[in-house]
Symmetry: C2
Subunit: 336 residues, 2 copies
Amino acid sequence: MNQPKGAQSISFGVSPYLLESGSVVGKKESEGPLGNKFDRVSEDDLFGEDTWEAAEGTMQKMACMLALKKAGVQTEKVRFLFGGDLLRQGIATSMGVEALQIPMFGLFGACSTSGEALALAAMATAADYGDYMLAVTSSHFGSAEKEFRFPLGYANQRPLSSTWTVTGSGAFLVGKEKSHVRISGVTIGKIVDYGLKDSQNMGACMAPAACDTIIQNLEDFGRKEDDYDRIITGDLGYVGQSILFDLVRKKGKDIKGNHMDCGILIFDQKTQNTNSGGSGCGCAATTLSAYILPKIASGEWKRVLFVPTGALMSTVSFNEGESVPGIAHAIVLEHC
Amino acid sequence: MNQPKGAQSISFGVSPYLLESGSVVGKKESEGPLGNKFDRVSEDDLFGEDTWEAAEGTMQKMACMLALKKAGVQTEKVRFLFGGDLLRQGIATSMGVEALQIPMFGLFGACSTSGEALALAAMATAADYGDYMLAVTSSHFGSAEKEFRFPLGYANQRPLSSTWTVTGSGAFLVGKEKSHVRISGVTIGKIVDYGLKDSQNMGACMAPAACDTIIQNLEDFGRKEDDYDRIITGDLGYVGQSILFDLVRKKGKDIKGNHMDCGILIFDQKTQNTNSGGSGCGCAATTLSAYILPKIASGEWKRVLFVPTGALMSTVSFNEGESVPGIAHAIVLEHC
């Protein structure tokens, strides 16, 4: 039986499975350390569209179609779709998934949205609300710079703590059929705000939320740090990672030995000028699809805690001097 | 047992109950036909804050606290919160619910968000993921005009098809304890796009989605129009309502006799200059809380289909010439 566990978690009685996934990225991502692992790479970051926003929508559609095709599941069989992106009013998702005509829930959790979508897809599957669910998220360097920062042509300088928004989309098919990756539980995050206001240092804004959710997960499930082969955050980057290590140590835990961060994995900091690392809700999603899931499916990693992290801000809240609160959701993925 | 029903619906085996709700509105709403029914009314539309966005967050927090207080349920007992608003990156919700420290899922479904939040809260409760869930949404005339239209000081003319964004927030406590209103099922909407591009005629953009979800609900549950005492849409307004009647008639159904619309109910068109009616995800939520739920709880209405409607657009998609797709989710509410 499914049951609430501890203060913020759910332990699934009959685990839903992560059946298949699809990853689509842009040119820069294809030149990074994971470049040869993504399903689709586009030399054209507009993906044949006229705008970055439409391009991002197209990536979401492509990623969903890839996951469905690999699993041999028809679109009509998918009961619900859970999707989101970073743009105002989630417009990339609305444009992208419209063509699929799947009943849908629009989500926003900033860069934690892939965790939010996977958690809800797993919860809906475990509750027997349908045989298949889709979870999809995306981000795009062009649309995100326009949304949150400066026009690309302005060529502003980027501080060392800044991150580089990943152009990419990852989609995940969750269902009851057995596969080699099961979702055994989830820990849903609370909003954590340490009062930071620097939108060019997202890692620092999100690290407290990542710490909070990781510690809560260990407590709720009665586990130690090394009960996970890897604890993998979404896009803290180098700056956020070092803060996370400090915060976790203050809680009497140490995750230095088994922590990874998708933002650090996806780009080569030295040759790609990505400063603190990759970010965006396409960062964690494409890294999960292309790099993490194959290692769990093969059994190289038996149990992984996947923790996408989000900075809950808008240009309006930033301009009004509000702080940038963080949120992180954790998904327990196990080899089987 | 919970089970998927038809193509887009869920029928709950053991129904979750809508235990309590809270409604908070601004001055103009208090002067409308439902003015004396809301829980809290503020003469100051800034609710003591410095910005419209912070005011909207404060309304969400107030509405949640009201619902909890009426039910005598402590904040820590609420397992998950499902919330959203109309602003870019859902910033009103992030600011508003932070203080509650409840594990949260951020949502975006434009003005359909109250339906999305209620559906997920009911699904999570029926699946035994916790004893209590909160669903909350809001909108604010000041923040919405700034987000989607013109600065208020510009005093632009409003076309007759335009709607007036409701300043208000409604929160709903869903749980397993028995009350007089049960949520017996939900129908989750697909994105429906007829290609309309007029952001000053949201009713026309959303009516096709409302029709789609209502017809699907009748089909999935094997019901006739008059199996519902009322079918109540979110914010189609007068213009959208007449389009909805036409579209539904083309499907061989007639809902003229039992249709209501929260956008029509909340303002007096003749004296309040609200043109086609009220809108915003605070419109459906506050009307449900203050007007609809008491009638179901008393048994005056035995079964109501509550159908919040959303126009999935942003200023960016509008400026780029994209159409405005619609979405609508339906919640089946029954007296018991």
